[in-house]
Amino acid sequence: MTRPFLRLGAVQVSFFLGMLLVLGRAAQVQLIDGAAYATAAEEQRTEREAVRAARGGIFDRNGSPLALTQPVYAVGVAPNELRDVVRDRAVLVERLNIPDRVVRQALEKRWAYFGGPFSSAQVHELRGMRGVYLTESLQRFYPRSGLARTLIGTPGGDGRPASGIERAFDDELTGTDGSAVVLRDRAGIEYTAPSGLDQFPVPGNDLYLTIDVELQEIVEEALAEAIEMLPAAGGDVVVMAPRTGEVLAIASRRRDESSASAFVSAFEPGSTVKLFTAAALLSHRLASPDEQVWTEEGRYEFDGRVIEDDHPSEWLSFQEVIEQSSNIGIVKLAARLDAAQQFAMLRAFGFGTPTGVEFPAESPGILRLPHRWSGTSAASLAMGYEVAVSPLQLAQAYAAIANDGVLVYPTLVREIRAADGTVVDRHVPTPVRRAITADVARTLKTMLRGVVYRGGTGEAAALSSYEVAGKTGTARRAGPGGYVPGSYIASFASLFPADDPQLVMVVKLDDPRSGYASTSAAPVTRAVLERLLASRTTVLDLAALGKSEPVRLPRAVPEVEAVGPRFATVWPAEPTGEQDASVVVPDVSGLSVRRAAERLHGAGLRAGVGALGTVLETAPAGGDTVAYGTTVALRVAGGTR
């Protein structure tokens, strides 16, 4: 009996020792080496990977998407891993919309790859299939195919934005990538654990443009029809809200598919610039609208140069000179201006400088300094030659007239919002300067109304319900070897409605067969306005149509009498007083002209600059009390032009 007890005792001791060993080892594994094993296990079943942040979207002013980023997939298949090749092949054919023959051929290889890209909806059913592997990537797509593409821009070869808003606002649109821990099960299938996101990706900000897709569509359609039917080599249309500077629609089209746009294609505008010559004459009180001018019955020899009118006349009033677009009349009247006055007015309306719109590579146009003018430059400029403007610059300048004389910065972006909807930045209309007085602006608007409704050159733009004001421009078209015979650029700049403009539109057509703006660009303007009135667009304040209240800007811009600085200077961005308020001239002697001008502008004064260098003294002198808006002449030591 003792032997079995002994044996049992021995087994129990052995088992106890074995258990002790196991427990000891377990303690070693858990307590001593536990951390190292845990790390190794974690590494085996988890993986850290970058989580790409989605690029922000681009929307129109009403939230209609113009560019979005969405996940897309490529599909890889290991045929030997499929559970049921026939059934799975049928699913692939149906979901990926690929011909059966192509899928069958692909599945005969060891690895089949379908690049797609396929949407989430397409690959949803494939996710649980064994042997099917999905590769996710983010892709930019444009829901309104082709609409406003020049404006929005395109990706370059490296996938980065190459042009347009996509490029200009790349920093805002690009988000910050995050990182995540991915779990892997025994089969090797990966899962993103919700707790594994150790750095959340921050999506890029969304841009809300000033563009209205409805109006954009109308404008692009009208431009395409005009180019096709006239026919013309190309064209541009810009529509702006004059009070805010918001660009509501902008379209460019060329038959040769070149990438020219309303931001960069500067052209000699011709007669649309006559209005700014008129502005200078009225501002300096050198002509009145009813003053008569002898227009030489259509042919005028001047300084060895012959100037002709398309509609020969005898006597025309200043107003009729604009209405009939008389070259002879405007050249004769412009002779009363000196070069500085003429230059200053064109510069005050923004010609020769970029508008500052948020678009890469904007053209500043061409406006030469007066000392580089030839003997006939003043006459040429009066008619809109020897100056080059972009359609956007022209729209901005006409918007200043609509806006009672205040030039406003144009803008393409209304709002920037974070992914959660928080507004990061909102556009505030910003005046650049007052170019002319409100009285002069009103007189010019009357002239523009006459162009359309008093038998002028813009009759084809007339609407019967609401008045349109505008000015035609037909300029000879420059080619590589000078002006091309019989080839013109036709443009029409308009204000709608005439009494309290809500829109400013510039239509420019390259080489239309009919030549004249009156029969090409003006009818396009009418077509756009008619379609706009019949549309559901919200860019027109229909309730306000017919009201004639003055334009109101968020910040008051003082009324000033026009003065004639030698070169154009910037009007204070933030005026500090009213028109009739007095200010003390700051002492700017010893400062550079640039710094002196800044100080004077800050005090609500204008700077009369004749040369660059160090300021010796001013007139009126520092410390004198003068009226707000007075021009302070700067005398400069060692000045250079």
Binding site: Q70, S119, S120, A121, P143, L183, S465, R531, L533, G546
Partner: protein, 87 residues
């Protein structure tokens, strides 16, 4: 000893069950995520179809084929909101 064995097995089962339920939950979450992505993608596609159908490029030719046309400006009357001043 049997008790210890049962206890050991129980703990083991608990660990396995917990891990399995974790993976099941993650798998389900992933399924819901992909379902949501699929639905969002479908919604985007449908919205695009609606926008395309509402565009002038599609609507105008269709309206013209039905004998309709766009009104001239003289045929448009904008009704004044009561209380706004007359012109």
């Amino acid at each position: 000893m049997g008790v210890w064995l049962v206890f050991g097995l129980g703990v083991l089962l608990l660990v396995v069950a917990r891990q399995t339920s974790g993976f099941v939950a993650v798998r389900e979450l992933n399924d819901r995520r992909s379902e949501r992505a699929a639905l969002e993608s479908e919604r985007a596609s449908l919205q695009q179809t609606i926008r395309e159908s509402q565009s002038r490029r599609v609507l105008v030719p269709r309206a013209e084929s039905l004998g309709l046309r766009e009104p001239a400006d003289s045929e448009i009357r904008i009704l004044r909101v009561p209380g706004t001043p007359e012109r």
